[in-house]
Symmetry: C2
Amino acid sequence: MKIHNFSAGPCILPETVLNEAAQAVSNFNNLGLSLVEISHRSPDFVAVMEEARSLVKELLHLPDRFDVLFLQGGASLGFLTAAYNFLPEGGRAAYIDSGTWANKAVKEAKHLGGIDVIGSSKASNYNEIPDLGAVPNGSAYLHYTSNNTIFGTQFSGTPQAEAPLIADMSSDIFSREFDANPYHLIYAGAQKNMGPAGTVMYAFDTEAVGKTGRSIPSYLDLQVHASKDSMFNTPSVFPVYVTMLTLRWIKSMGGVKAMEERNARKAALIYGEIDRNDLFEGHAAGNSRSTMNATFRLKEDTKAAAFDTLWKEAGISGIKGHRSVGGYRASMYNALPEESVQVLVDAMQELERTA
Amino acid sequence: MKIHNFSAGPCILPETVLNEAAQAVSNFNNLGLSLVEISHRSPDFVAVMEEARSLVKELLHLPDRFDVLFLQGGASLGFLTAAYNFLPEGGRAAYIDSGTWANKAVKEAKHLGGIDVIGSSKASNYNEIPDLGAVPNGSAYLHYTSNNTIFGTQFSGTPQAEAPLIADMSSDIFSREFDANPYHLIYAGAQKNMGPAGTVMYAFDTEAVGKTGRSIPSYLDLQVHASKDSMFNTPSVFPVYVTMLTLRWIKSMGGVKAMEERNARKAALIYGEIDRNDLFEGHAAGNSRSTMNATFRLKEDTKAAAFDTLWKEAGISGIKGHRSVGGYRASMYNALPEESVQVLVDAMQELERTA
């Protein structure tokens, strides 16, 4: 039976990518060696890293002044790296608290300067993107989390602010087009739309970095990594390779614009059913709904057993909601086919007919 | 033709491990899903992480008070993590400068305190393990790099010191037995004897950690990771899995003691030939020679073309020396068969007969 993988991340990747990745683990580029047992400085792997960096620039239409790196530590280390590289010694920055990860970003940045939270939806269990106060004068940047995986909320577009932007786009990078010009830094863990767990992408404005006056530990210094073409130390070879394959797949499918259109169709399908079907209700407020993660629940818990049986029988995997929200969460990243969303909608309708 | 992979890292892994890893990328545990598209919190992956942590404790005979983590960022981030967790605010620590990576460890630790270098072989291009001065009174720890990959030198055993030890064992972990009792921390990038690039192992004394008085950023705080069973954030799933498989392989081969015996035989074979064959000379001083990386060169550069043809024809890969040393470097990590060293020795002897 085909499995419909709605996992929140690590998550579904294109089948062709996984096949090629498995082959590379056995024998990469017909070298007679595995991808993971050759030097990261060999021409074969340097080509992988360079293609991955270049595809990010191309697919996101990054301005020429941007550089792209693939590092380690996930967005969790990214919270610290962002502040180290863009929050000046003794300076302040503005943050938006739109979910668990946004809140963690605030916590880490506080190690390095004064943080002003200009909007929070914590009081409503993060069921919406908060209204934003003004960014205080002199803020080095405004940091936000573009999509909140746990709560199923997403900024509908780029926040308007006087300050430069920094965004953690871990769970919606490459899912929709945006203009990178207002950003100093975009970072994203790979394990949703980009690839497997184990690498994190940094795209940053080379003209804005390096102005904090800080002495930055080497691994946290974006300029150190950039000066070594993202090979300051041994990169996470397999995750970077599979990310490169996934970026190739995005390009072959028509790029980010095509992903955005497909994601809009999938989101319309699931939210249409959540709104139509009286047995269900959504968690996220209508204007904050995420195209990546749809959070919803049964109005009556007594129907849970019947629904769980239905979706399991349909081959659906990974839709249990996060413990902070409960209910269900259907994660619909780029690689999830529209067919899988239809199968879920069918199960919801079958429950309506039979429960 | 069989390839004899002497790469310095990432490097050769056991063939059975690579086969199983390729299978898991296609279909893991017969789930119908790839290893890299399931949740890291799924029972199937939690079991992988727990087995990897447990195998480290077993294979290294770690005292019960030790905990084991698999994090990201390589030893390069480990240099900073070591100091954050064990160098008290306002304190000092002693370091041994035995090579490029040891030197980088000093540089990163200086962000956090006073560093006393009690021995350096930099003046002789790191061709030996330096003589050690006394560890100053009040040093929080003595840090050293057990094996110097670039220069082919290795501590013959555990340094004797009044202070607790911290060691970067990236390039000889699991290659020989040692007593972990004198250590506060042992850390090692996976990509030599342990697995593919993309994860770094930390084994640390839980009774010694957490006493620095520092406010530590979350990702750099070993106690934060330990409190979440090495799942504070999404781990590097594939590298951890392949590391677990490699640790299983070490155990199946007879454990670290069996590795040590095999590595000693391989080292005896190559160093015996370097010493016997008048065309070659070693870089590392005799009593500092590494069992992992043998560095050597031709006494006459004019024979290089002939030798390079011979070893390439024999299927040897990855023996070009690091640019800091020149010549050749034969890396003989755990997974390298004795047969491969014999093939290299044969090529050296063939050169002697024909050049």
